[in-house]
């Protein structure tokens, strides 16, 4: 929406509301409206999110809107939320661009009776009712490690691969991996870990060099997204498919061929469509007076966990069997 359209809406909406109140017969029941506020418009990720929300809207028979600023700026999100308060939206679900700067407008919305939730990104200091997210960074690392451990028969040398040495979320993945691998006495971690700066070429050549340094490496646990396909390519060029297993976190579109050939065993990911679909459903249920439950089994998603206002859905495992279901 461009600026003039927005101004026009801002003028017209109140005028229409007044006009309707004056002459229209009383509406039977106002249609429930849930508005999702994205970080920014135009990303493949947001498009996939929208699909999930759309599906939930159809199933629930409520109105679901998707609003996104043209730039990933919190100021533009605040303007959108102000507008939604004026429109007396039932619920706002937001992925804030700034966890702190969004706090006042969330308070304003809650005070005005609009229920506010966060999803995808949280604002922990705000009054939001709860936060819905995919499994956290440490848990994803644990899942990758557990899957790889199972794949290699719980024994042998494993190389952990990451991107930037200082990337906070990657370090959390690595932390999760270390925690999980510690459960398997048969597994030793090769030191030092590989840090490839998220560079495809370095990811590939460092994996090859690692296998020269330690020819008995049987598995790679990849914490950053360029690594799984790049290590898969390395394994392919060394004719070690099957002898060395690779698990990681990467986009299915970048890894499909290596999953198909067996060079990469699997990926741990969350499906943004499912995350948003579930968020719309659970927010709608809350508006009906139903609180989320810890440990509840949700069809097509698995067991969710709920504590301290944070609702987590488990990640999905992507292998050669189901990779074609994912189009991102």
């Amino acid at each position: 929406m461009n600026r003039s359209a927005r101004i026009l809406t801002a003028i017209l909406v109140p005028v229409l509301v007044i006009a309707l109140c004056g002459c229209a017969p009383e509406k039977k029941a106002k249609e429930r409206r849930i508005a999702f506020v994205f970080k920014v418009d135009g990303l493949l990720y947001s498009e996939v999110c929208k699909r999930g929300a759309m599906q939930a809207a159809k199933e629930l028979g409520v109105r679901v809107d998707y609003l996104a600023p043209d730039k990933a700026e919190v100021g533009k999100q605040i303007a959108i939320v102000e507008q939604l308060i004026a429109e007396k939206t039932d619920a706002i679900v937001i992925s804030p661009n700034d966890a702190d700067a969004i706090v006042p407008v969330i308070r304003k919305a809650m005070d005005a009776g609009v229920k506010v939730f966060t999803w995808d990104s949280d604002a922990p200091a705000s009054q939001r009712i709860f936060y819905v997210a995919a499994a956290d960074d440490v848990k994803i690392g644990e899942d990758i490690a557990d899957a790889l451990a199972k794949d290699i028969g719980e024994k042998g040398k494993v190389q952990i691969v990451s991107g930037g040495r200082g990337a906070a979320n990657l370090n959390l993945h690595v932390q999760g991996m270390e925690k999980a691998f510690a459960k398997y006495p048969g597994i030793t971690l090769v030191q030092p870990y590989i840090y490839n700066d998220d560079d495809n070429q370095k990811a590939r050549t460092m994996a090859i060099a690692a296998l020269q340094k330690d020819p008995d490496i049987v598995g790679f646990a990849c914490a950053n997204s360029p690594s799984a396909p790049a290590v898969g390519e390395a394994i392919t060029s060394l004719n070690k498919i099957g002898a060395v297993k690779v698990w990681g976190l990467a986009l299915p579109s970048e890894t499909r061929q290596y999953l198909k050939s067996g060079a990469v065993s699997g990926l741990m990911l969350w499906d943004p469509a499912k995350l948003t679909y579930y968020t719309a459903k659970v927010v709608n249920a809350y508006l009906d007076g139903k609180q989320p439950e810890d440990g509840e089994q949700v069809e097509g998603i698995g067991a969710v966990s709920f504590s301290n206002g944070v609702l987590l859905i488990p990640g999905v495992t992507i292998t050669k069997e189901n990779v074609d279901e994912f189009d991102f």
């Binding site: 998220d198 070429q201 020269q212």
Partner: protein
């Protein structure tokens, strides 16, 4: 065929400027071959050849630019642009040779744009190529939607495998070195780098020379882009992000003078090999990644000091 003629043309140069880099390379490689079994495995040597070839080709183009007292920061971005143009066309079914050619054209055009911006109103090369570093990378990101082009023909992928990139570097570097030593453009490049004013007075058109030099740098980045996409089996917008520093370091280690006027293509290739060999050695020896910079930085300082000392000795003679 790189026969006796070229060897003769290069030999007097090699005896001076490239000597420190060559000695370091020979000592490092020999030592590693003896002490580190992982270093001498065929797979590791193949990776070294691949990496050194790709970096070396970019360093050849960069050396030419630096000899003209310029700099090209946009090489990594031009590499990704070329690779993505070629990769996207291949994925649309274009024969790989034609698609590769289109990728190279993209590199040359990107280089020409650099050269034109630099010669137009004499904008500083560091400013222009800093801008196009961001521009070309952004353009490639937006145009491809960050999508990977990773279903590439097997015959195309062969050009990036094993020692092919190193062979390509020798061919490209040899041609450029021959041009510098024997060709008219080579003489003009040295003249422009030495003194643009003197060059113009003696009838060398500096702007035309500069445009060609930046176009050659774009072409080199393009060739490297094709090899890198083939080696990775994937062309994507973020290829070679940040590699411009490695490329410039390679030329400096190879004895190219950053202020222009002097330098050697052969030295730039040695410099690229040194960077690749050192990084591989550090990895194989289990040195934590935080310490890599200490070694590469140290080598650059060493190269600068050696070059200064060499010049002092030379001027005394």
């Amino acid at each position: 065929m790189l026969g006796a003629v070229e060897a003769q043309a290069l030999l007097p140069l090699a005896a001076r400027r490239e000597l420190p880099a060559l000695s370091l390379l020979v000592v490092a490689v020999t030592t590693l071959l003896i002490v580190n079994p992982a270093f001498r495995t065929p797979d590791n040597l193949a990776v070294l050849a691949q990496d050194a070839g790709i970096l070396g080709i970019m360093a050849c183009g960069q050396a030419l630019v630096i000899i003209t007292a310029g700099i090209d920061l946009s090489v990594g971005s031009m590499l990704a642009l070329s690779a993505c143009v070629a990769g996207s066309l291949m994925m649309r079914g274009m024969p790989w040779l034609v698609a590769s050619l289109c990728g190279l054209v993209a590199g040359v055009v990107a280089g020409l744009v650099n050269g034109s911006l630099i010669t137009y109103r004499r904008l500083p090369p560091i400013l222009v190529t800093l801008a196009t570093l961001l521009l070309y990378r952004g353009l490639t990101n937006v145009a491809t939607g960050a999508a990977p082009y990773n279903i590439l023909p097997e015959t195309f992928k062969m050009i990036g495998k094993g020692t092919a990139p190193l062979v390509m570097m020798v061919a490209v570097g040899g041609l450029i070195a021959l041009m510098v030593a024997r060709g008219r453009l080579g003489r003009h490049i040295l003249a422009v780098g030495g003194s643009p004013l003197a060059a113009r007075l003696s009838g060398v058109p500096p702007d035309a020379v500069l445009r060609r030099v930046y176009a050659i740098s774009g072409l080199c980045a393009g060739i490297a882009g094709l090899l890198l996409a083939a080696a990775n089996g994937n062309a994507q917008w973020n290829l070679a992000d940040g590699w411009e520093l490695d490329v410039i370091a390679a030329t400096v280690i190879g004895g190219v003078r950053l202020t222009g006027g002097e330098g050697s293509i052969l030295g730039a290739m040695f410099g690229a090999m040194i960077i690749v060999v050192l990084r591989n050695a550090l990895f194989l020896l289990g040195v934590p990644v935080e310490q890599y910079g200490l070694v590469t930085g140290g080598v650059i300082v060493l190269a600068a000091l050696t070059e200064q000392w060499r010049r002092r000795v030379e001027s005394r003679q």
